[in-house]
């Protein structure tokens, strides 16, 4: 799980081109959109793409998206849950 969270942080930094930020700077439970990391609605769409592209999991609607994209923790939990459903 810790590896997954680190991987997510690394991917977020790379895909969203967050200069000057290292994975260690992102807290697992810090808000991602708006406060905290300060991402916007376009970044949220990029995170949806990231989850599908790198982890094979799809966010099916906006309501689910809002919950899943809250923090690194919620994103990691979602990946693990969706993968468990698939097996």
């Amino acid at each position: 799980m810790e590896d997954l969270k680190y991987e997510l942080k690394r991917q977020i930094i790379e895909e969203l081109k967050l200069e000057d930020i290292k994975p260690e700077d992102i807290q697992d439970d810090a808000p991602l959109i708006g406060d905290g990391l300060g991402l916007d609605s376009i970044d949220a769409l990029e995170l949806v793409v990231l989850l599908e592209k790198y982890h094979g999991v799809k966010i099916m609607d906006e309501e689910i998206g809002k919950k899943v994209l809250t923090s690194i923790n919620t994103m990691a939990d979602f990946i693990v849950e969706e993968k468990a459903k698939a097996t």
Partner: protein
């Protein structure tokens, strides 16, 4: 200075000329349907490039669809106008993606197959305008503006300002936009694409549908009309442009830019808010635009909202061409003294309770306001007046 509209030309998913478009509006017939290739709902013009090239007897040289659609609409608007040295004439067109329909084709070919056909890429926005200018015999001021979805309205505004600034006496102004994979994929990636036909201003709206088309107006001052003898159809009374400055794509919750544009247009026209008889809204059918625009209506009109509607349920969102296409519809609304219908509306938005006009309703129409808002927060409003 009085600025008269003396010619209109239009091609959209609901018609290949002004008359066909008006008939479709009157019979509530949409031009949006499911595309075979993309599976998405699109407002496609029912004419192939080959048919367009044949119509204009164009040589085998590559013409982008942008140029072809533009030529069709511009030649209809221009009609029997002639170029001479006495009337200073210019053209201002607009487009978002220029000849992207060709550029993307050759770019994909080049990337996949290593074919270096870069010289065939029609990326330059100004090329379409030059093609149309050459066809009509216009030289001198040949301009193109590109402000995303407010472009067509801005082209018309630019034309009027150049006339008021004593640079030109007569202008053909408008816009042209093809359906390109670039835009279809782009808007889909934003998650604002409705899988059914769009429902502007409806509480259950799910997003927009893309469309393609072109439209042009011929604007003349009194001096030009005294020589051309063209009959005025109506007047362009005013215009306003402002910036939302909220986000690159999303509109502000209070619709600040939109409200400023509408207010500026009314100030320019010298009229008060109560004089507007009908508003042709930007109304794309997205959650964000329609709410933001409604909030702008509230702040500008208060409790006296005039009849309003979006015509994008007929044509789809034609991006840069939208402002010009809807300008033609506003002119037709004045000609026919009718409010235009908003398709697919059932339930008012819970935030506002506002209800657009849903039928082709006869009314006393003196002033019509047309809104167009684009990426980059660019907001433009035009006001047309019965002559």
């Amino acid at each position: 200075m009085k600025i008269f509209v003396t010619g209109i030309g239009i091609v959209t998913a609901i018609g290949l000329d002004a008359e066909e478009n008006l008939n479709s509006l009157g019979s509530l017939t949409t031009g949006i349907s499911r595309s075979n290739s993309s599976g998405l709902m699109l407002g496609e013009v029912k004419l192939s490039n080959e048919e367009l090239m044949k119509k204009f007897q164009l040589p085998a040289e590559d013409y982008s669809r942008t140029s072809l659609l533009g030529l069709l609409a511009a030649t209809e608007a221009w009609a029997n106008n002639k170029i001479d040295k006495i009337i200073r004439t210019g053209i201002i067109s607009s487009t978002s993606v220029g000849g992207m329909d060709r550029t993307e084709k050759y770019y994909f070919d080049a990337r996949k197959n290593g074919i270096a056909n870069s010289s065939l890429m029609t990326h330059c926005n100004g090329r379409t305008t030059e093609r149309i200018a050459a066809r009509l015999g216009i030289s001198g001021y040949i301009g193109t503006v590109s402000t995303a979805c407010s472009s067509g309205a801005n082209a018309i505004m630019q034309g009027a300002r150049l006339m008021e600034g004593n640079k030109l006496d007569r202008v053909i102004a408008g816009g042209s936009e093809p359906l390109a994979d670039f835009d279809i994929k782009g808007f889909s990636s934003l998650g604002i694409y409705d899988n059914a036909i769009c429902k502007p201003f409806d509480d259950n709206r799910m997003g927009l549908n893309l469309g393609e088309g072109a439209a042009f107006l011929v604007l003349e001052n009194e001096y030009s009309i005294s020589i051309s003898n063209n009959k005025p159809i109506c007047m362009l009374a005013g215009w306003g442009n402002a910036t939302d400055a909220f986000h690159q794509t999303a509109s502000s919750p209070d619709g600040k830019g939109a409200a400023l544009a509408m207010t500026n247009a009314m100030v320019k026209s010298g009229i008060t808010v109560d004089k507007i008889d009908y508003v042709n809204a930007h109304g794309t059918g997205t959650g964000n635009n329609d709410l933001s625009e409604s909030m702008a209506f509230k702040s500008v009109f208060g409790n006296n909202l005039p009849a309003f509607s979006s015509t994008k349920g007929f044509t789809g969102h034609t991006l840069a061409a939208a402002g010009a296409i809807e300008a033609v519809y506003c002119v037709q609304a004045i000609q026919k003294q009718t409010v235009l219908p908003n398709l697919n509306f059932t339930t008012p938005m819970k935030e506002t309770g506002m209800k657009p006009a849903t039928g082709f309703q006869r009314a006393n129409i003196e002033f019509v306001l047309s809104n167009s808002f684009g990426f980059g927060g660019n907001c433009t409003s035009l006001i047309f007046q019965k002559a």
